[in-house]
Amino acid sequence: QLGGLPLVVTAQVDLLLVLVSLLAFWTRLSHLSYPNAVVFDEVYYGQFVSLYMKRVFFIDDSGPPLGHMILAFGAYLGGFDGNFVWNRIGAEYPTTVNVWSLRLLPALCGALCVPLVYLLTLELKFSHLSALGAAVLLLLENSLIVQSRFMLLESVLIFFVLLAFFSYLRFHNAPSSLSGGTPRYIWLILSGVSCGAVVGVKYMGLFSYLLLLVVASLHTWKLIGDKTISHRNVCVQCVHRVLCLVVVPVLLYVFWFYVHLSFLNRSGPHDQLMSSAFQASLQGGLSRITRGQPLEVAYGSQVTLRSSVSQPIPCWLHSHKVNYPIRYDNGRGSSHQQQVTCYPFKDVNNWWIIKDPGRQQLVVDTPPRPVRHGDVIQLVHGMTSRFLNSHDVAAPMSPHTQEVSGYIDFNVSMPAQNLWRVDISNREAESEVWKTILSEVRLVHVNTSAVLKLSGVPLPDWGFRQLEVVADKLFKAHSSSLEWTVEEHRYGTSQEQKEREAELHSPTHIDVDRKISFWAKFVELQWKMLTVKQEESEHKYSSSPLEWITMETNIAYWLHSSTNAQIHLIGNPVSWGVGNLSLLAYQLLAVVYLLRRRRGLKDVPDGVWDQFVCLGCVCVGGWLVNFVPFLLMDKTLFLYHYLPALCYLYLLSPALLEHAHTHLLRYRALCVGALAVLLSIFLTYRTFCPLTYGSPELSAHQLQGLKWRDTWDILYRRR
């Protein structure tokens, strides 16, 4: 049947497609390096690009690493060396930075979205005219243009989402007589790969991926019900789909992390969030310090103990020659013994010596006697020789827990309670030896069975704003604030206090690299990314999801340092309205159709109905999964989060119009109306161009004219 289609038709399609593609490239790629300054979130993504260039480890909770890697790849192509400080929006790029290449890949993705939408409409079985309409809507959407033209990730996300849907539908629509043939499955694999990329760029992509899975499983369900196909064939097809659409994306997702972790092998500013073992696997930083330390902690070992939580800040168990105040500000009393705190900086006062309660000496025997799980020890503070102690006195900031102190005998019938039992929580065997860096240890107070815990509350001035350490009885099994790791470690050799102090001041040394497996690193990094909560605060341009539908809000991306030239994220209000209208119309129409079909009144033939349902699943479903989750989120949200959902509406509008025109309202007026709307979309696009491209500069009066909504913040420079 391939010969049946005249070649002329094919050529015409191509021309339209080529035309919109060219226009898309022109709108997205022209003058890409203007403005030659940091625009909005480039300041955020830029720092990660720099870190990639320097191969320095970082952790970003906003999304998986693929997006950052794509941006970094663009920078790499342009020869960016990572030497630029991304500190403020509007900072000029130096001539050494190739701005064009930094922005190239997102812009390319943004441009490719336009032909993809065209093709996707065709795969939804609508006409070329609808496809053209969808492409034009996307083409002339100012907000998408703005978002594509800078070093941001939304356009990349949208591109992969569209690609995933397009290739899946291509696979689905391909005649199944070719089911044995490979070309069909290439589309399925491409779809799986795009899904992997979607989830790899932003977590929001997960919802689009799930939608695709739902659509695919509906199709598969039909396949299972098809009794003309043999059981074996059905099984094979199902396995293929699961492999391509589930296994491939999952593997790819892990692969992005593999690349990320194997590429970033140097230590950097985000190290402290990770466990000691992880840090030790990075070049420089902790591994330099800890290289060659003895592995097994023994009686007489000199250690620093790092808290396993990185909230509010990573810190080490610390003490200093200052006592708790006799009375706190609120009148409560203390033991007035020596303060024990958690201190976020390396310091000689972080050193503690592990002592056998039965013996006096503070040096390591030969051979060393290792400390095992369940052993009872005393901890002696290296510089002051005070014993780590706890007792039934309320802690300074968390009065429901016990105070922890360096014991001083004031002869007030407050005996020393300085025995601690070592409880290794990640042990594999009951008699496991306490290991440097690897073991996570709880110190259980023998007298009260309370556990040494970082409460994380900063002490007032008397405690130098260091963090409070307490002993807590109500221990919860899952709290990592109870766990401590030995970070720096050496075997003590000096029995005399003076010598020991000198020893403590000298740096630790020696060599051996400790490796942890990729999976351990992956799990830790993934867990940290999902649980690290950054302080949520409102941004000047943040908005709530309900404001996006009516575009009550905008975002100022950039303002010229001396003139009124500026770039804003403002959508095309007319297309925005068209999108909302079609969403509403589709839902109304669907309800009417459904009710009438249930009563046996079939307004449209079954084939058309299927097409209509498929359109709704992809477009309305896509809008829902990309919008509703934001309503439930506690994050700081911006207008650009709405752009993926918006693309689905643009896909919906022309298709719905075509459906209405072919099956419901065959009026010429509809065509004329559609043309008029398209024209007005073009005109509004032109009107807002100065705010989209940042040139030409407008006068304050003209800017005032562009403020179509009172709630938009458009900036005027006072002259």
Binding site: I224, H400, S455, L474, K476, H478, S537, E538, K540
Partner: protein, 761 residues
């Protein structure tokens, strides 16, 4: 009409119905599965027999029918007896306040004393507790100050007994629901056993809490809904109406106790939509009939519950007419209703004057009083000046003094009145700082400016000046106390004093943020009224404040409740339970006692029961997947299998939906969550377990031949029963009280039972 159609089928199928009234449910199902009609004669016995083996001829069926009828009654009696005895046993132990009894007992007392209070839950549950207390001779004098307080001679058994009786109905309802959904006594008895011997369900039923009342209404609503579904071929008969209306009443009850009742409303709503959808597809019904069906449901399931719900509130407001601890949450107008409140028949100077001491209340509902205290904004949050917040409680720190721009201390004669457009300076009475604003970001609402207390003894700078405007007033209008809506415009920056409604973090004592908004739109958030007004130089005039009407009160109290609910954020040191902890029984709640010497009660589900439930959820999904793939692929299944898969998909689906609706929403909630929030979901989960395991046992003949499969089925049931009973024997001290050493110490009665480290008994 449907009836007429179905009658012939009834005749052929009458023998299959095991109930005295032939349930048309069966015949309905057979219309969907035409296979069953053909094989009817062979399979009818199997169906009716359930767990009997009779399959030969009509006489066997009659026997089966009779034998099912009486066991189900006997079993029901047994369930009821066990349920009441386990719940009422040791009811008055421990004789002190346990856990949240301190709240709900106290609120019950408030009803008896007719004192107004504020709570985040709707009033029905507490009203019933109060009523039960009143009826049993409790006089409302016990203060319920904190958990652990001894009751001494108070009659607290009535309130506990009331909750326990309602809690005892849960296994009975579960039995009836599962029986209705699966037509199998075994399934029903499994579900009821799981609930009867669950330590968690026992504990939560035995104290003065809202949960047993809530769960009673939830289960009653589900039961009446299921019964109503059975009546589908007898539209508009008395029993049809009875179950329909009863569903509506129970829905109102559930919602009236806690907002969790919304989930069961959604469940019933979805079921009703499905029902209407089925009716719509029934071409034998005319559109008028369908409209009738729709209207009947709309009346009974929407309008009736709404009316009842509003009535509950009406009673609440009528009963509570004395001023109490909850006044400050409500608007000035609302407070004037309450006897004993200072606004009730208030008498104070009518017009605001310079030199007056006032409290200023935000007009936004639950907006709070303008407040300040001896604490500074922390470092990094704007300027380090004194905090200004909005506070919901009445407090001397809410007092402000109105001054002129330059205080010339003209103490002579009558003070001048403050008029629209006057420039004022507001001095905080306690700390003598002025209300101040400047171009720093507000702590939470970054688009607004920060408001602070600045200066000392009233001497500040130009940023302390505010222009006072009466909304809708003209220049020269005086400011009426209570009645005028005023706003405060900051002179220097032009912004307006605003209460954002966001709760400040711990440094701000979880009070509400006050900002200065540059957006001058008139909203209640930026409008304030003068509530208390003290000026010894002016004559006091009796004010009759505009009394709000009932709908306004209703709306206001709901907004206050929702704010209160979302304001219940987890605190740092408090135990924070996560929803994923719940189904695995990860951690319980201490109801009473911590130490070895105390009488301890620990709310924790019977781990065996809960883990069986968890496993059954997985099992259910597997079984449904296998069954539906087999159907979709067109494998020919026996009649019995088709029946089973229908029960799984329809009955099980309903229960699964109930479980999801009562569990999944908690994942999105930002408020603080507790273990006991899972209990309504746990009821659904247990019923689903009964249904699933029963069908699993009966499907043993897929693998084994008849005599063995029958033995397998029996062994499985006995094993299940035994493990539940034995685990209850092991864990019963959790509910009925433990003393002596804790479980991980030697010599404890619970030694060896601490199967998870996270359990705290």
């Amino acid at each position: 009409m449907a009836k007429a159609e179905c009658t012939p089928k009834w005749n052929t199928l009458a023998l299959r119905n095991r109930k005295t009234c032939p349930t048309p449910e069966k015949s309905f199902q057979t219309t969907f599965t035409p296979v069953s009609k053909d094989k009817n004669s062979q399979t009818a016995g199997l169906l009716a027999g359930g767990d009997t083996q009779s399959s030969n001829g009509p006489s066997g069926q009659f026997v089966a029918r009779g034998s099912i009828e009486s066991p189900s009654k006997v079993l029901l009696m047994l369930v009821a007896g066990l349920s009441f005895s386990t719940r009422l046993y040791k009811l008055t132990e421990p004789p002190h306040v346990c856990w949240d009894e301190t709240h709900f007992g106290k609120m019950g007392s408030y009803y008896i004393n007719r004192t107004f209070f504020f709570d985040v839950h709707p009033p029905l549950g507490k009203m019933l507790i109060g009523l039960a207390g009143y009826m049993s001779g409790y006089n409302g004098t016990f203060p319920f100050i904190k958990p652990g307080d001894k009751y001494e001679n108070q009659n607290y058994w009535g309130m506990r007994g009331f909750c326990a009786v309602l809690g005892s109905f849960l296994p009975i309802f579960a039995y009836l629901i599962v029986l209705e959904l699966s037509n199998s006594c075994t399934a029903a008895i499994i579900a009821a056993t799981l609930l009867i011997f669950d330590t968690g369900c026992i504990t939560i039923s035995q104290y003065i809490l809202l949960d047993p009342i809530l769960m009673f209404f939830i289960m009653a609503a589900v039961l009446s809904m299921v019964k109503f579904n059975q009546q589908r071929y007898r539209s508009f008969t008395a029993s049809w109406w009875f179950w329909l209306v009863l569903t509506g009443i129970n829905l109102a009850g559930a919602l009236g106790v806690k907002f969790v009742g919304l989930f069961v409303i959604v469940l019933v709503g979805l079921n009703t939509i499905g029902d209407l959808w089925r009716l719509l597809g029934d071409m034998s019904l005319s559109l008028v009939d369908i409209a009738k069906h729709f209207l009947a449901r709309a009346f009974a399931l929407i309008l009736l519950p709404l009316i009842l719900y509003v009535t509950i509130f009406a009673v609440h407001f009528v009963v509570l007419n004395k001023s109490g601890p909850g006044d400050g949450f409500f608007s000035s107008a609302f407070q004037s209703r309450l006897i004993g409140n200072n606004l009730h028949n208030a008498s104070m100077p009518e017009y605001l004057a310079f030199g007056s001491t006032v409290t200023i209340k935000n007009l936004r509902i639950a907006g709070g009083y303008l407040h300040s205290h001896w604490h500074l904004y922390p470092e990094g949050v704007g300027a380090r000046q004194q905090q200004v917040t909005a506070y919901l409680h009445k407090d001397y720190n809410n007092l402000w003094v109105v001054h002129r721009q330059q205080d010339n201390n003209s103490q002579s004669g009558n003070p001048d009145l403050v008029r629209h457009g006057d420039i004022v300076r507001l001095e905080h009475k306690e700390t003598t700082r002025n209300l101040h604003s400047h171009l720093h970001e507000a702590p939470l609402t970054k688009k607004h400016f920060q408001v602070t207390g600045y200066g000392i003894n009233g001497t500040g700078d130009a940023n302390d000046l505010w222009q006072m405007e009466v909304c809708g007033g003209r220049k020269g209008d005086p400011v009426k106390v209570l009645r005028s809506k005023v706003r405060f415009l900051h002179r220097a920056t032009g912004c307006v004093l605003y209460s954002s409604g966001k709760t400040l973090p711990k440094w701000g004592w979880e009070q509400i943020e006050v900002t200065c908004s540059p957006y001058l739109k008139e909203t209640p958030s930026s409008q304030w009224n003068i509530e208390d007004h003290i000026n010894p130089k002016l004559p006091n005039i009796s004010l009759s404040v505009l009394k709000p009407n009932f709908l306004e009160i209703l709306l206001e109290s709901h907004i206050v409740m929702f704010r209160g609910n979302s304001g219940l954020k987890p605190k740092d040191n408090e135990m924070n339970s996560k929803p994923w902890h719940w189904p695995i029984n990860y951690q319980g709640l201490r109801f009473s006692g911590v130490n070895a010497t105390e009488y301890r009660v620990y709310l924790l589900g019977n781990p065996v029961v809960w883990w069986i439930n968890l496993a059954s959820l997985g099992l259910y999904f597997t079984m449904v997947a296998v069954a539906s793939i087999a159907t979709q692929r067109g494998f020919s299944l026996g009649q019995q299998r088709i029946e089973h898969s229908l029960v799984l998909v329809r009955g099980g689906g309903l229960l699964m939906l109930g479980w999801l609706l009562h569990y999944a929403p908690f994942f999105t909630m930002g408020r603080i969550l507790y273990f006991h929030h899972y209990f309504p979901a746990m009821l659904f989960s247990s019923m689903l377990t009964g249904l699933t395991l029963d069908i699993l046992f009966r499907s043993a003949d897929l693998l084994l031949h008849p005599p063995y499969s029958y033995w397998f089925q029996r062994t499985g049931q006995l094993l299940l029963l035994f493990s539940i009973l034995y685990s209850f024997y092991l864990f019963h001290p959790l509910s009925y009280g433990m003393t002596g050493p804790l479980a991980h110490e030697p010599g404890s009665a619970m030694a060896g039972l601490k199967w998870m480290d996270s359990w705290e008994f």
